[in-house]
């Protein structure tokens, strides 16, 4: 496809400075500069470090995106930017840059929800989103089940985590196992050589009253504590910790709950399409088990490639292009950031 609006998207909600450009549903470039290495030694994202890195990377990343896509800024039809949720100081760098671009170029500006962008990005890989779509968003900051009748204006939250996000649980368990930050990819790798039924870790909110009251909610903090305790007991007994088995069994507990609830949410709402998004959607076991269970339930599964699941600018551009296409109202120049922007709110 060569038609559709030419939209540049900016994402700075956490530690990735992302700039993507799409034409309609075609991805032209996805440029990302990450400060993750600077955070690794702290075991988590340090907001001020992230904000400083965004300021350094912002303009060079815009320039790189334009160069690689062969696009001149003057040719852009619209600018889209993550207005929330995310780290307040980090969001401000991207939003200020986006406003300045829109003002200088005379283009409309769209302040958008980060989570809606995680859903919208899949159009550049797999075409228009079925309406409605069920979305399971799992990242370091979020774990949500979303019913999405229209990603440009109607997103409903069916459930979310009551404590830790799924990615956060991966990162914390990795720490317990002495694996580097961010832990998700390392657990994923360690788990490949482990036995996923070696240890029966708890599945949060899946039985009894909990299940009734929190049918589509998640809880990973009990699981994380159970893993830490299990490892501690081993160490106290002077035994070696079977890292691969712990990783595989922990991962299985997370992925089992996520996929079980996602498939059940589809059935309960008569939805035939399930989309995975967010950094944890890069997890190989989550992809495999989701595929298995969707096949059994007759649900079509969509998963963007890993690079589009983690935070990036292309997803913002992709949502921006859909907002332009559907004639949604642009944001004003005094658009604020909202670090706790609710998922139901697609535009700021």
């Amino acid at each position: 496809m060569t038609d559709g609006p030419l939209v540049l998207g900016i994402e700075t909600s956490c530690d990735e400075t992302g700039v993507g450009i799409v034409r309609g549903q075609t991805l032209l470039v996805d440029a990302v500069a990450s400060s993750v290495d600077e955070h690794a030694r702290f075991g988590g994202v340090v907001p001020e470090v992230a904000s400083r890195a965004h300021l350094e990377a912002m303009v060079p990343t815009i320039e790189r995106a334009c160069r690689e896509a062969g696009v001149r800024l003057q040719d852009l039809d619209a600018i889209a930017v993550t207005a929330g949720p995310g780290l307040a100081g980090a969001l401000l760098v991207g939003v200020a840059s986006a406003k300045s671009l829109a003002l200088a170029l005379g283009t409309p500006l769209y302040g958008v929800n980060h989570l809606a962008s995680h859903v919208a990005v899949d159009v550049v890989e797999h075409g228009p989103l079925p309406e409605p779509t069920m979305a399971l968003l799992v990242s370091g900051g979020h774990s949500s089940l979303l019913l999405v009748p229209d990603v440009t204006r109607d997103i409903r939250s069916l459930g979310s985590t009551l404590d830790d996000a799924a990615g956060e649980a991966f990162d914390k368990v990795a720490r317990v196992l002495g694996l580097p930050f961010p832990g998700g990819p390392f657990i994923d790798r360690a788990a490949r050589d482990g036995n996923r039924i070696a240890i029966d870790f708890p599945r949060g909110l899946t039985s009894g009253k909990d299940r009734q009251h929190h049918e589509f909610d998640f809880s990973f903090s009990g699981l994380k504590t159970a893993v830490a305790r299990w490892v501690q007991l081993r160490e106290q007994a002077g035994e070696a910790v079977p890292v691969n088995d712990v990783a595989a069994s922990f991962q299985e507990a997370v992925v089992d709950v996520l996929t079980r609830k996602a498939v059940r949410a589809c059935a309960a709402n008569g939805v035939d399409d399930l989309l995975l998004g967010g950094g944890v959607a890069a997890n190989s076991r989550l992809r495999a088990l989701a595929q298995e269970r969707c096949d059994v339930a007759g649900i079509r599964l969509r998963v963007p490639r890993p690079g589009l699941c983690t935070d990036n600018g292309a997803m913002v551009a992709a949502l921006g292009a859909q907002l332009v296409d559907r004639g949604r109202t642009p944001s004003r120049l005094d658009l604020p950031t909202d670090s706790s922007m609710p998922v139901q709110q697609v535009q700021a």
Binding site: H39, F42, G43, G44, V45, V46, P47, E48, V49, S51, R52, H54, L55, M58, V59, I62, E63, L73, L87, A88, G89, L92, V93, V95, A96, S97, K99, S100, L101, L103, A104, L105, G106, G140, E168, D171, K172, V173, R175, V176, S221, K224, T225, A228, R229, V231, Q232, E235, L333, D334, L335, P336, T337
Partner: protein, 252 residues
């Protein structure tokens, strides 16, 4: 200087301030006071000065920005706005120390006419950002900075430094340190920032009109005014946003 249209921005103090300068005078100025809401007010402020001066963004040839020191979040909004605007319209970016601008304001307002002056601004956390200046009419802007900008507790400043005529919010915040009161609060608040400037908000916050004037003078004197990096003066607080305390305590 001819064919110059300079857009000046500063967000290092509680003023979100924007001005347009054509190389000989200030064409328009827009300032919002209030420590919060930098991101909200800056872009509309730029639009306002462009409209008032009847020019379009692509007419802008130079963008000047105050690099602080100042509260980090607001500071970054100003700097990234300036850099991005310059990229979009193909203009050059000039950055300079925001304390220099306040020193320049102290001189052009007539509040200080010789000797030395001190600039002391709010660094929060019970500290001030400060720098000393020699008042030298032959220098661009009439000032020469003595040493690098610094962040300190007011009580740690030498007595002879605090005794200098002082501009910036410091004396207002720490009256027990700045007891001499060489400039009265009234003077600080009402001094005209520039001859002919419509916005007389004094010597407490940075004025983009004064920033523009200082950059134009430095450029005319052959100084490239080519600094770009913010004056942070402090290391980041190394506190990760998601705590790992539980996992660690469970490990003992």
């Amino acid at each position: 200087m001819s064919d110059v249209l300079l857009l000046a921005i500063d967000t290092s103090t509680s003023a979100i301030t924007v001005a347009l300068h054509d190389g000989s005078s200030v064409l328009a100025e827009a300032t919002t006071l209030g420590a919060r809401g930098h991101a909200e007010h800056l872009a509309p402020g730029i639009r306002t000065v462009l409209d008032r001066a009847g020019v379009t963004p692509t007419d802008v040839t130079h963008v000047a920005v105050g690099l602080g020191p100042g509260p980090f979040t607001g500071l970054r909004v100003g700097i990234v706005t300036a850099r991005t605007f310059a990229l979009a319209v193909g203009a050059r970016v000039h950055g300079l120390c925001s304390l220099d601008v306040l020193a320049h304001q102290g001189v052009v307002s007539g509040a200080v006419s010789g000797g030395e002056l001190l600039v002391a601004t709010d660094a929060r956390r019970k500290e001030v950002y400060w720098s000393r200046y020699a008042v030298e009419p032959a220098q661009p802007g009439g000032i020469r900075r003595i040493g690098d900008p610094t962040v300190s507790r007011p009580a740690d400043l030498d007595a002879d430094v605090v005794a200098l005529p002082t501009v910036g919010r410091g004396p207002q915040l720490y009256p027990d340190v700045w007891t001499a009161g060489i400039l009265s609060p009234g003077e600080l608040r009402s001094a005209p920032v520039l001859p002919g400037s419509s916005e007389g908000f004094g010597l407490i916050d940075v004025s983009a009109a004064a920033l523009a004037e200082l950059v134009i003078q430095r450029l005319a004197a052959g100084d490239p005014v080519d600094e770009h990096e913010p004056f942070y003066l402090r290391r980041p607080d190394a506190v990760p946003s998601a705590s790992s305390a539980i996992a660690r305590s469970a490990l003992g």
